[in-house]
């Protein structure tokens, strides 16, 4: 049986090996072949600061969804060390309850230098899981502080997890976390300061609510005690329902696809430039003259781009 057939049949080894292929860019042709089998899974993103309890929540949410007979694919991203290029992928430690369930597939991914909280290949890995017949794909980002947030570009519902320790709502606003949240979770409900954070967030989110018609819920959970999880899962389901009812699901998925096409075009052009167009030796010589202020970087870039455009006509 070909790897594609096994993958479509949900075979776990085939899923795992296909993800490796797209992650290592060995065979992106496979994406071409699986694409038409995708588009069915519902994507939920879980993001928030380091140690907020994202993995523990993913574990708890998944257990609920399993009871509803759903198939779940989990992608958990942890940071790659910028110094060694290695990574310690530890999200699984919080998901040991799930490890052996036949309807679960968990994959840890290293961010590999990508900055938005995901790895470059996370979107493609999600496609692989989608093609393999998952009903839900849960994506856990690295612990984000104040960086760009790619997760909303991939997911239908984005859940932002905060904890009392992660500061007040101003910090979440600065980090852009409030803008991308469809559902806000204050986890570690057993700790002090939860109620205060919930109240602050309610206040901060009121303005957004009036614009979109979606009543941004703020939930309190204690992931380690399985408290508030049922409500959280219901909130995800209502958000999905809301998106379908208002026609936003299709609209947003289309704009994500448009973004993806742009992204891929840029990637291809960059690769093409590096491989065939920019003659590094000549550039290095030019840099000499730029250093002596005989030329400016602006002029050089302009000239090279013009040449490129001319040659591609």
């Amino acid at each position: 049986m070909s790897i594609l057939k096994s993958l479509l049949a949900g075979d776990k080894r085939a899923i795992a090996q296909t993800i490796s292929m797209v992650e290592n860019d060995i065979d992106t042709a496979i994406l071409e072949r699986i694409f038409r089998h995708t588009g069915r899974a519902y994507h939920v993103g879980i993001t928030g600061p380091p140690g907020a309890g994202k993995s523990t929540l993913v574990n708890a949410i998944s257990k609920r969804l399993l009871k509803k007979n759903k198939k779940i694919g989990i992608i958990a991203v942890d940071p790659t060390s910028p110094f060694s290029g290695g990574a310690l992928l530890g999200d699984r430690v919080r998901m040991t309850d799930l490890a052996l369930h036949e309807n679960i597939f968990i994959r840890s991914m290293a961010s590999r230098g990508s900055l938005g909280g995901l790895a470059q290949a996370t979107k493609d890995a999600a496609l692989v899981l989608d093609a393999a017949g998952m009903d839900y794909i849960l994506i856990e980002t690295i612990g984000v502080g104040q960086v760009e947030l790619d997760i909303a570009e991939v997911c239908d519902t984005t859940v932002v997890v905060l904890v009392p320790e992660s500061g007040d709502s101003i910090q979440a606003m600065k980090a852009g976390l409030l803008e991308i949240a469809d559902i806000m979770v204050v986890n570690k409900g057993d700790r002090e300061g939860c109620e205060r954070l919930v109240t602050e967030l309610k206040f901060a989110l009121e303005m957004r609510e009036q614009k979109s018609g979606w009543p941004y819920p703020i939930m309190k959970t204690t992931a380690t005690k399985d408290e508030g999880i049922e409500e959280l899962v219901s909130a995800v389901e209502s958000h999905a329902g809301h998106l379908v009812k208002t026609g936003s699901l299709e609209k947003e998925r289309k704009s994500k696809l448009l973004l993806r096409v742009h992204e891929l075009i840029e990637q291809k052009i960059r690769l093409h430039l590096r491989e065939s167009f920019i003659r590094e030796n000549e550039l290095v010589k030019l840099v000499d003259r730029i250093y002596k202020r005989q030329l400016s970087p602006y002029r050089v870039a302009e000239r090279i781009t013009k040449e490129l455009v001319r040659s591609s006509r």
Partner: protein
């Protein structure tokens, strides 16, 4: 992108010390590898399932409980059942010489005694990871070609 070496570091069985496993995991990360850490008290089944889903090159187990014979043979058996014997199994812990020999005959690729410098483990993995990995078609071709070369 380039292929990174992926290693699962696990701690099967009942004993509660994972300091050694954590030290090794950190050393492998510092050597540029992607290390999936599964935590304490894992069953053999869940370790093998994780190794398959994570598509690792190597499973490294730390066993201090004395149950190494049962655990390693179970792991190897489960890998075989999942047609995943290309994943190399290595281990560390306090293992008597006789057992070591038996384990290696069984298919455990390498065992490191207590106090082995982590650099030695790193070097071994770098030299051996990915060698038996995947694409069985290519592998058989290579083995077929090998004798021809040696007859020269």
């Amino acid at each position: 992108m380039y292929k990174k070496i992926r290693v699962l570091v696990g701690k099967p069985g009942l004993d509660g010390h994972d300091r050694g496993a954590k030290v090794v995991a950190a050393a492998l990360r510092d050597a540029g590898m992607e290390v999936v850490y599964t935590g304490l008290h894992q069953t053999c089944e869940s370790i093998v399932e994780a190794a398959v889903q994570e598509d690792v090159d190597i499973i490294g187990l730390s066993i201090l409980s004395g149950a190494h014979m049962t655990i390693f043979s179970r792991i190897l058996k489960l890998l075989k059942a999942k047609k995943a014997i290309d994943i190399l199994v290595i281990g560390g812990g306090i293992i008597p010489d006789d057992d070591m020999k038996r384990l290696q005959r069984m298919g455990v690729r390498k065992l490191f005694g207590p106090g082995t410098p982590t650099s030695e483990i790193v070097d071994w993995i770098k030299a051996n990871a990915g060698k038996s990995k995947k694409r069985p078609a290519k592998k058989t071709r290579r083995t077929r070609r090998a004798p021809k070369k040696s007859t020269k």
